[in-house]
């Protein structure tokens, strides 16, 4: 049964897609489970277990406060996953609307909005997010807001280019002659044509969001303690690289796996043709 499913996947989407899908599915399951269950409370400290090595009770070991690393990794994955998810959602939806309007209508509005977009685009998105967080303060919601806004320009650019290309084609002129409204043309006629591009940029965007979120919390301006976050854990683990290497290894691995899963998935999707 599993074999035939696997075969089907390999036939149609290749190895990258399957591997990416499996890894991402596991990450997703962990993230969802992390909402309501972790083996231990992620903030429960135990002085006796300070930097305890991995064992039967604590499979990833314990951190410098004696907290179960596996539980904290689960919570960290949950935080990173959902923050990245909503970041990409905000960035892609806003970027798509902006890009669609600019690409479809063109003209002065397009000029003005795209200049603004380019100005934002000139900053690395992580830097832009830091500026926004400096203004609105840290916390999960603000991280989503900051990263989401920082991600708008790149999406807007891609979507605009695609819309511009499509809008000049005869089938759009035809739809206008039929009397189709602009909104209908943009989202019913054009959008399905740019879906492949959009999907792969959402995938790449998700990866960038994972890394950006980890980066922000590594710098201490992301999710705030005692809530676990992969970036912050990695930053704390540095101090114990030699006394408790498992701390850094498991935390780093989970970030790497998240990114790898999505990278493989987007690779797999784009090689479909």
């Amino acid at each position: 049964m599993i074999k035939t499913v696997k075969k089907l996947f390999e036939k149609y989407k290749g190895f990258n897609f399957c591997a990416g899908l499996i890894i991402t599915a596991v990450i997703f399951l962990i993230a969802v489970t992390g909402i309501f269950y972790t083996p231990y409370p992620s903030t429960a400290m135990n002085a006796a277990l300070k930097n305890a090595a991995p064992g039967a009770a604590h499979i990833f070991g314990c951190d410098n406060y004696g907290r179960d690393i596996f539980s904290r990794v689960m919570e960290g994955i949950k935080n990173t996953f959902f923050i990245s998810f909503f970041t990409v959602l905000l960035g892609s939806v806003a970027g798509m609307i902006l890009g669609a309007v600019c690409g479809y209508y063109g003209g002065k509005l397009d000029n003005i909005l795209m200049r603004l977009n380019d100005a934002l685009f000139a900053f690395p998105s992580i830097l832009l997010a830091m500026v926004i967080i400096a203004l609105v303060g840290p916390g999960a919601f603000n991280v989503v807001l900051a990263l989401g806004i920082a991600f708008i320009p790149s999406f807007a650019r891609i979507v605009r280019a695609e819309f511009k290309k499509q809008a000049s084609l005869d089938y759009i002129a035809g739809a206008k002659l039929m009397g189709a409204g602009d909104i209908r043309i943009m989202f019913v006629h054009i959008l399905p044509n740019i879906l492949p591009v959009l999907i792969s940029s959402v995938m790449i965007g998700f990866n960038n969001a994972v890394l950006a979120e980890a980066g922000l919390s590594f710098l201490g301006i992301g999710v705030q303690p005692p809530e676990a976050s992969l970036g912050r854990m990695l930053s704390e683990a540095q101090a114990f690289l030699f006394t408790a290497p498992w701390y850094a290894v498991f935390t780093g691995l989970s970030i790497a796996l998240m990114v790898l899963g999505f990278a493989l998935l987007s690779e797999g999707i784009s090689e479909k043709k």
């Binding site: 084609l169 005869d170 089938y171 002129a173 035809g174 739809a175 206008k176 002659l177 039929m178 009397g179 189709a180 209908r184 006629h189 399905p192 044509n193 879906l195």
Partner: protein
């Protein structure tokens, strides 16, 4: 497009239409004029042929008349609320992401045909009327042959019974037998429904059989126009003569 009902005899009246394109080349703006102060009239129910060499501005004129391309000066009136066009390039004329069913159903949805069954029936009828079969409904444009695609374009354009159809080289991409089929079909539909056709082609032979009147376009101007028989028998303009000779219709 103004709807001028005072002159019901006239379908298109164009006066002094000029169209030019401005492009940026190497940072410099280059303007080239494609249509130069062009005037003509087209009667209702007529099949008017528009001929001329490649690049003479035929497609540009068509797109200008439908408001797709902006004109720099001049004016025109079209005596139809929703004129339609069959585009020259059947590849970009059909939405690649949509099925034939969607493409044919869309004009009906837009014009407010609410009933699903009724729409589907009309879609099937229109497919039959252009000589295609129902199995094509769930296919995408890329899965059709050029001739089938061209017919879908015609069916979609005629879906809402326009008064004016502008057909830009609707048969040039097809082989001769299919050409004859599609033209016969257009003529039949025209006879049944009574719309007018502005028929663009560079094939003077096809035009002779198909059109009532012909205009010859040269470098954005109308070199000559007239009834097919008269113009073909006794061309006044040297360029028209040349065209007819090179098409093998006239001996020099």
């Amino acid at each position: 497009m103004k709807d001028n009902t005072s002159s019901t005899e006239i379908m298109i009246k164009a006066e002094n239409i000029s169209v030019s394109f401005t492009e940026k080349r190497n940072g410099r703006k280059v303007t080239h004029t494609v249509l130069r102060e062009l005037s003509f009239e087209m009667k209702q129910g007529e099949i008017l042929g528009l001929a001329g060499e490649s690049g003479s501005g035929k497609s540009t004129l068509a797109k200008t008349l439908l408001g797709i391309t902006e004109l720099q000066c001049g004016e025109f009136t079209i005596n139809d609320k929703s004129p339609q066009m069959v585009f020259q390039d059947p590849f970009s004329a059909l939405n690649p992401a949509k099925t034939i069913r969607f493409i044919l159903e869309e004009p009906l949805k837009i014009s407010g045909v609410k009933d699903r069954e009724e729409r589907l029936k009309k879609v099937k009828d229109s497919l039959l009327s252009v000589g295609l079969e129902e199995i094509l409904l769930e296919r995408k444009p890329a899965e059709l042959s050029g001739g089938q695609r061209q017919r879908i374009c015609i069916a979609a354009a005629l879906m809402n019974d326009p008064g004016l159809l502008i057909a830009d080289e609707p048969v040039s991409a097809l082989d001769v037998t299919v050409q004859a089929q599609v033209l016969a079909l257009l003529k039949k539909l025209k006879e049944e429904r009574g719309f007018s056709i502005l028929f663009i082609s560079h094939d003077l032979r096809t035009m002779y059989n198909f059109c009532d009147r012909v205009m010859i376009l040269k470098e954005g101007r109308i070199a000559e126009q007239g009834k097919v028989e008269e113009l073909y028998r006794d061309p006044k303009d040297p360029y028209t003569k040349l065209l007819l000779e090179s098409a093998g219709i006239r001996q020099s």
